[in-house]
């Protein structure tokens, strides 16, 4: 099995090279086939690895010495265990479906941009695979940076639009802030333990002082904040919707943003050692979940709603991590990958049908025009809302149960967030698919169901969204939670919580009931008369995203600009320019004065000759005492 591990990232890399280099000469269909086939090959290998891990357990494959400095040795090694093989399946599986979908969605692009698009997608898959397969934090960091780069490239894919470029830059900068935290944590770890290998780090973690552990885990969490869009670094994710919709589905919903979850789940040994960090992670996660849910209530852009929903769901995952339910978080990553990819792709299908119209106020009544999209989108909405037996229910419930065991307030807020999730998802659903069509006549005329290349991935993902939860049926509902037993070799510090069965039934009932009420309320409210007017009052605050972008603009951007202006106008002009010009003027002035010496008059030269003779005699001949004086001086 070890012999084929390297194939997993190799296939997408080959696809990237072929598509990237041949984008001007290959035909569109060939590009699409290469792009999808490489990911499919990767998926098949991952599948083999997955079953192998299930049968024989984890393994580490060491390839070569990546960094070898003094006592620090970082090897280029892949670690295939339960956690990484699960992520491999999610990445390559969902990734493959999105590649297939993209072949149809991006068909209007020119061939060379089409090739560029698939090259970026393949490069992204490659980077993400590196991230999860690496056997140490350094390899993870390579992938970590790689996905950040691909995210930048894909958000700014339509680089002729300045706003998209700004969004790409914003994503990159926000990610860099987080990456700095990751990097500092990495240095700290290497400084203290002299190694970055997971196995060694976790084996020697107990030798770290509690301060070191807290600092390292918080810095790692800062990295996760950037990558997984948590408060305060989440603002890039909604803007990242500037990219093509399949990109949003793949990168900004299903895979890359879960890198932070993966990293913390991977480092669960470290995190469990620091109570402070755990609480911080839980609180940040919960705050993000609620905060972005409130914003999602008032958004009118179909992708923006989904984007804030993603941020909110990521917040749930961090809540799960923070309360020690690592398995629950990973479980939610998986189910979320299914239904959020589904929702985004369905949204993409709608946008495709509407000729790139994204405002839901101009949609409505699409139910009869886009039947397959409608059904799959509805299934996705139900799944994310947490209605049993859809996948979202099991994963979310597991997190909420763990949160209740830790602190009932977490649970209460979590349920409130879940209610909002159900509400805004069905607001979106009702406004888009129910009621009557509100767009132009021309748009209505052209409404059409998407081609098979787009609907088939939708159907598959819908299927997975429905049944995906059954791998983690809790014991109380008669299941065995196979995911937990599968992941147990990696996640060794799962917090066991013990809640009375009756209480647990009650919790489930409450959350389901709340969600169901929210759904019914939303459908009733929006299917007949959707809110078309601009929001007012508090709603305006929400639709303007709590003015967080403006706040950041004022606090960080403006102050930086003001500082820059100060430096430019005061420091630069007066001090630096003054120094530079002063030197210039001094040289100029002194050379003007020195020029007078070169009068060209013979008597002047003789005068200097005489003076020089006097000086020489004084210094070297006159008993040398001036020379002695100078020699004592130096």
């Amino acid at each position: 099995m070890n012999k084929i591990v390297y194939l997993v990232p190799l296939f997408p890399l080959i696809g990237f090279l072929i598509n990237g280099l041949g984008r001007k000469s290959l035909s569109k269909s060939l590009i699409g086939i290469i792009g999808s086939a490489t990911v499919l090959a990767s998926f098949i290998v991952s599948l083999v690895l997955f079953f192998d891990v299930k049968a024989h357990g984890a393994s580490i494959v060491d390839y070569f010495n990546f960094i070898n400095v003094d006592s620090l040795k970082v090897s280029f090694a892949f670690q295939i265990d339960a956690l990484s093989s699960l992520f491999l399946l999610i990445i390559t599986g969902v990734g493959f479906l999105i590649h297939v979908y993209s072949t149809a969605y991006m068909i209007d692009e020119e061939p060379q941009h089409y090739g560029r698009y698939f090259a970026y997608l393949n490069l992204f898959i490659f980077s993400m695979l590196l991230l999860v397969m690496g056997a140490n934090y350094v390899i993870m960091f390579i992938g970590w940076e790689g996905v950040g780069l691909c995210s930048y490239l894909l958000i700014g894919f339509w680089f002729k639009n300045d706003n998209f470029n700004y969004a790409a830059k914003k994503a990159f900068v926000m990610n860099r802030i987080g990456d700095l935290g990751f990097l500092l944590a990495l240095f700290w770890l290497i400084q203290k333990l002299g190694t970055a290998n997971y196995a060694d780090v976790f084996a020697h973690a107990s030798s770290l002082s509690s301060f070191d552990v807290t600092a390292i885990t918080i810095l790692l969490f800062v990295g996760a904040m950037g990558k997984s869009a948590q408060i305060p670094l989440y603002t890039w994710l909604p803007d990242a919707m500037a990219g093509p919709t399949p990109v949003s589905a793949l990168i900004h919903a299903a895979t890359m943003v879960t890198a932070g979850i993966y990293m913390i789940a991977r480092s669960n040994v470290l995190y469990s050692m620091s109570e402070v960090t755990m609480n911080l992670v839980a609180i940040i996660g919960l705050a993000t979940a609620l905060f972005s849910a409130t914003i999602a209530l008032k958004q009118n852009d179909i992708k923006k709603v989904l984007a804030y929903s993603t941020v909110s769901q990521l917040g749930y995952m961090f809540l799960g991590l923070g309360v020690g339910a690592y398995t629950g978080a990973v479980f939610h990553v998986m189910t979320h990958a299914f239904f959020k990819a589904l929702l985004f792709l369905a949204a993409g299908s709608v946008i495709h049908a509407m000729h790139h119209e994204q405002d839901i106020r101009k949609m409505g009544g699409l139910k009869k025009h886009l039947p397959i999209t409608h059904i799959t989108f509805l299934l996705g909405c139900i799944a994310i809302s947490g209605i049993p037996p859809f996948s979202g229910f099991f994963s979310k419930d597991e997190i909420l149960a763990a949160a209740f065991a830790k602190n009932p307030i977490y649970w209460g807020l979590g349920v409130a967030g879940a209610a909002m999730t159900a509400f805004y998802m069905f607001r979106l659903y009702a406004t888009t698919f129910l009621g009557t069509f509100r767009g132009t006549h021309d748009q209505e005329h052209h409404l059409h169901e998407s081609p098979a290349a787009m609907t088939i991935p939708l159907i598959i993902l819908a299927l997975l969204s429905v049944i995906g939860g059954f791998v983690g049926v809790p014991e109380i509902l008669g299941g065995h939670h196979e995911l937990r037993s599968f992941l147990s070799p990696v996640i060794t510090t799962e917090v066991e919580h013990h809640i009375e069965h009756s209480t647990e039934y009650l919790l489930m009932g409450i959350s389901v009931a709340v969600a169901a009420i929210a759904i019914i309320f939303a459908i009733n409210k929006f299917s007949k008369k959707p809110e078309l007017a601009e929001a007012t009052g508090f709603g305006k605050v929400l639709s303007n995203k709590w003015y967080v972008d403006e706040l950041y603009d004022t606090v960080f951007v403006r102050t930086t600009l003001a500082k820059g202006k100060f430096l430019k106008n005061i420091i630069e002009k007066n001090i630096i320019d003054g120094a530079v010009n002063g030197v210039g003027k001094l040289v100029n002035y002194s050379s003007r004065q020195l020029r007078l010496i070169q009068s060209g008059l013979v008597s002047g030269y003789i005068l200097f000759m005489v003076l020089a003779i006097i000086v020489v005699v004084l210094i070297w001949v006159n008993d040398g005492y001036i020379y002695k004086f100078f020699s004592t001086l130096f």
Partner: protein
């Protein structure tokens, strides 16, 4: 006479020559001051030759120490005569071109 007297006399003449070169603007006077400096050096050479001869003659009545120095002075005079002829020709030439004997006109070294 003690040799110091001759040395100091020569130095005084030499420095007067230097001051003349520095102070006067008439190129002929400057040239004359150069001749004065040459003569100061000649005087010093002769004085030294006599000093060395006086020391050597105590041991050897027939010594010719010091002859070379006097011949050296002779050759200096020869060269000085040649130099003056060329130098004065240059001065005449300069006067013909600039109608002046002011050394400050000769400031081409500036460029």
């Amino acid at each position: 006479m003690p040799i110091q007297y001759y040395i100091i006399l020569s130095l005084a003449l030499f420095c007067i020559g230097i001051v003349g070169v520095l102070v006067r603007r008439n190129v002929i006077i400057v040239f004359m001051c150069v001749e004065l400096m040459l003569n100061a050096v000649n005087l010093l050479l002769v004085a030294f030759s006599k000093m060395h001869h006086g020391i050597a003659v105590v041991n050897d009545k027939a010594t010719t120490v010091g002859t070379d120095a006097q011949l050296f002075v002779f050759f200096i005079m020869v060269v000085a005569a040649a130099e003056v002829s060329v130098g004065l020709a240059i001065i005449v030439m300069m006067y013909r071109n600039t109608h002046s004997v002011d050394v400050n006109f000769l400031n081409r070294l500036k460029n």
